[in-house]
């Protein structure tokens, strides 16, 4: 019997809060990412080691994606976008470990991620454009679009949530069904496909977050031109 993918298994209670399996898995992922980062960045030098070179390549690639997608300085968005990508990737790939169910296969985790993006959009928009400028984006291209833009703000966040949840949960569910029917080795190709799906979903989530934030926090035309000159020079 396969448990419902829509429900999380409670493991224990911590005061009034119920600690479920996705939360514990998330803690493990946090420990892995933060501890690994702490270990790898203890002795950074101008002449990088192999591990440092991989880290720098990762950060530089994230910066490049941010720069290409948002056409803005990547420093302001690096932490949010990089963390979202790394966490979702690690969470999706955690399904490779026996007995571990990826946190992103549960609605609460994806909702938490979407909620953070939902809050980040006005946060960066107001920081960049100011409150009036940010609110003015809802009236673009005309005032008639205000209701639709307001709805779109919610629906696109909801689409983030549903897209990630649906892809990861379906993959886990399909692998569980196949595993229960035909045995041990048959799901292996599906698990490999799930690795690719997990990476693509992490990338898509990060890119969509960048697009949504960029739409709200698009730089002013003059500023954009200056930064374009900086990049080309």
């Amino acid at each position: 019997m396969i448990a419902s993918p829509l429900s999380a298994t409670p493991l224990f209670h911590l005061g009034p809060a119920t600690i479920t399996a996705p939360v514990v898995t998330t803690w493990g992922i946090m420990l892995l990412l933060a501890g690994g980062s702490r270990l790898l960045t203890r002795r950074l030098t101008l002449r990088p080691s192999s591990g440092q070179a991989v880290l720098e390549l990762l950060v530089d690639t994230i910066d490049g994606q941010i720069r290409d997608t948002m056409h803005d300085d990547p420093a302001r968005y690096r932490v949010l976008i990089g963390t979202l990508f790394l966490f979702i990737l690690a969470a999706n790939w955690s399904s490779l470990l026996p007995g571990i169910e990826p946190p992103t296969a549960h609605l609460e985790t994806d909702a938490a991620l979407a909620l953070i993006v939902f809050i980040a959009i006005p946060w960066f928009g107001i920081r960049t454009r100011g409150l009036r400028g940010y609110l003015a984006t809802f009236a673009e291209p005309s005032l008639l679009m205000v209701p639709l833009n307001l709805v779109e703000t919610i629906t696109r966040t909801f689409s983030l949530l549903v897209r990630l949840f649906g892809n990861v949960m379906s993959g886990v569910f399909v692998i569980g069904v196949v595993l229960s029917l035909v045995g041990l080795l048959v799901p292996v190709p599906l698990m490999a496909l799930e690795l690719l799906t997990g990476a693509v979903q992490a990338y898509i989530f990060a890119v969509l977050a960048m697009v949504f934030i960029s739409a709200a926090a698009a730089p002013q035309p003059a500023r954009a031109q200056n930064e374009t000159k900086d990049r080309t020079s």
Binding site: T18, V23, L44, Q52, L55, V59, F87, H106, A112
Partner: protein, 250 residues
Amino acid sequence: MHLDWSTLALQTVNVLVLLWLLRRYLFRPVAEMIAARRRAAEALLAEAAEKRRAAEAAAEEIARREQGLAAEAEQQRAAAEEGAAAERARLLAVAEADIARIRAEAASAIRRDRTGQRRTLEAEARDLAATIAARLLARVPGAAVSAAMLTSLAPVLAALPAEQRGALGGEIEVVSAAALSPTEQDACTALLGRVLSPPPVLRFRVDPRLLAGIELHGTHAVLRQSWRAELERLAHELRQEDEDVAPVLA
């Protein structure tokens, strides 16, 4: 569809905590290291550019010095050429002066040689003339010659100024080429007694070198009326003519 709000809250907090952790332990140090490396690379490039500019400046300085050295070498060469020209002119002047001096010395030597040769020739000519005159006189009687000389002595004495005749003095030595006979001595005494006043005291002496003729050796003057005296006068006149011509030849 059930949503566990406590799990949602916990996961939201978890992601926010992860944001802080990765910001602190991953993105910030790595980004700072990338920026530090970029700054180091830019500093290195700036240093390389500065060194390149310095090298270019040094190369320009070297080129400028080379040009300066070339110009200095050219000046030194020109100065050396001028010095060589001046030294050559000085040497030429010295050489010309030496040449002029040597030519003058040669001309002087030639004149001396010519004078010596001429004197030798004159002496030889005088001796030859004396020899010829002696041989000729040997064929003429001595008395006739003495008489002729005495006869020619009279107008000479008469033509002399009075003070010169007085300078002959009161005692006169009469020198003749051949010994005068007593008659001739008396004639001579008579002649001088007529011309000179007071009449001198005469002493007679023979000197064959006179060849012919008579010489009167007074106290303060000598009257030479002999062939030797004539020969010497001729030789003196010839020498005078040669000395007048010599500067023109030199």
